[in-house]
Symmetry: C2
Amino acid sequence: MELTASPLAADPSEPALVRRQQATLFTAEQPLTLECGLTLGPITVDFQTYGELNSRRDNAVFICHALTGDSHVAGRRNADDRKPGWWDGFVGPGKGIDTDRFFVICANVLGGCQGTTGPNSLNPATGRPYGPEFPFITVADIVRVHQTLVDSLGIDRLLAAVGGSLGGMQVLEWAARHPERVASAILLASGSRLSAQGIAFNTVGRRAILTDPSFNGGNYYGQAETPRFGLALARMIAHITYLSEQAIEQKFGRRLQHRDQLCYSLTEDTEFQIESYLSYQGKRFVERFDANSYLRLTRAMDYFDMERDHGPMPASLAATAARFLVVSYTTDWLFPTEQSRAIVRSLVQAGRHVTFTELSSPHGHDAFLIESELPMLARLVSPFLDRTWRDLPRA
Amino acid sequence: MELTASPLAADPSEPALVRRQQATLFTAEQPLTLECGLTLGPITVDFQTYGELNSRRDNAVFICHALTGDSHVAGRRNADDRKPGWWDGFVGPGKGIDTDRFFVICANVLGGCQGTTGPNSLNPATGRPYGPEFPFITVADIVRVHQTLVDSLGIDRLLAAVGGSLGGMQVLEWAARHPERVASAILLASGSRLSAQGIAFNTVGRRAILTDPSFNGGNYYGQAETPRFGLALARMIAHITYLSEQAIEQKFGRRLQHRDQLCYSLTEDTEFQIESYLSYQGKRFVERFDANSYLRLTRAMDYFDMERDHGPMPASLAATAARFLVVSYTTDWLFPTEQSRAIVRSLVQAGRHVTFTELSSPHGHDAFLIESELPMLARLVSPFLDRTWRDLPRA
């Protein structure tokens, strides 16, 4: 394995800068065989770490990011960076996941577009981006790559795998597929499989991309036009499912955006504030995300199914050594609490250690990412990590 | 007014055929002034009637159809018609709305695409379809046209106005704007205004149409390509909101469409049954609906707001002479029961006669259209119409 890392900030008076690192795993000769049967190699993994790995190498916490997240969990990339990482309120010195004590790793997922090998990466065999040639990947493939990364860092067992939504599915996969490799599993706003309604929303989002003429069958890199209308629309649709009805009502209601009067116009389709907000979310998203990745990662989410992949649930979880913390949110309708309860019931039946909390929040599925919700989450996660750490079997 | 009607079936052994009629209302010289300030005239109204108007002309029931419905409520259009009208299980001799006793009228809405003047109608001023020139209309405009039709039929007061969803909004508009013209108002799965989440779903649907290159700013009549991808996608998105999560789960779950194995393919995006179902719904919809109409009617739905249009709610309903029947469905998340309750509370505060029932159904918003739900609905509506009929003030 080849590791490269950018330098850390030298001046301690500067805000903490994060270390962006890359590892190259697998090779053309010894590629990763994906679940679909195709092979991929070499695979670049782009990741960030926070804190220090201890000498026993047993204080590593692996954060699994969600559908459109990335490895930039906390801190700032450079001195000019205006926004810290997406979980900066939760991960850092003295925070919910305390980087003074734990070595935190977050890696961009396979098939994404943030540095880890994905459709927009150069295919070494052709010298051009993979584009539509990039295989459809699964949660198991994503975790397989991350597990290989963890191997390469010399870590036998993670203190915890943590993730929300699609990240929670990865955590379940870690626990089921690599039962000795995780001492604890923390699942937030997630489930053992996406509901049919969730698949429905994903499929209309993909349809928006696939029917955008600029998608051009996935061959749009280097073109003047990219499928930005389709990708923005897919994001807008998905974004509705991330918010609770209650949150949309409170934040926007039926308020108009620009004026007091309705405008009765075709060209002004953002006259309600909620329309303008969604439009903005779509626009921002296309600046940072790739349509081919979106197609693959939503499919990975659709495909994940604990029972299909690992057999009936109590049994498939019986082998894991992990203790679980499962958290759901009252107004999450993409992964309603009942989904978390089903996992908890299976864990109890499997005789595993499990803590479950349904948190009250108006913020819907996105609650685990919302700043104001993080102190409550920290009050659950921090002592859970403490106890896991204290109870670690030590030779 | 000019009235034309197609002949009824002559042979009584044939299934009942419906009478398709057209009326021409308003003129170029005396047009309808729309809420947006523009004018429209003449306006053709395409409608169907069932049963006979009695000599007192007081047994008319006006059915307000929903977003993509039409005037073809019951019966068959011709001997070869494979499917009866959309509410055939509820409207007919001896049915929930008994056409042996009541004279039933249903008219296609203004701005639609089923015969009543809309974007795909010829603009008499230009000889070409209105297309993007067609004004944005409101629920008040729709009802104003229907009220003029009812006038032209010599009916002073409807026994009832009945409608679900956008149809229910029209019923509210009838009661609030034309308080002496309706003896009763029957609202199903509706509300006094669409929620912000509802607007959000409408806006992403419209966005799908607006960004389809074949939409061409609304100028697509007579073109080789119509915005069928965008319109189908809009329908697919909306269709998800018409079904309950529970109904989708029971009907499709995570079952695959063609095979046991996942296919990991870009070109096969209908591998789950729910995907194939939605895709089919989209495809069928574009065969019968017009994108310009869809843009206008969803906007009319967004715009409708009892309080904005008629002032604070208890007061605005105090003037109506109508007695109300309000029905909601347990799993309807587009117009949740709370929306019906809010109307009922206002009616009670306004001292109006109101009956309210929340029906238990797994079918979500579409429940009022589902065959198996109609007997239960009939058990509410039929006696309600009876009592209204019995209590009619008669000179």
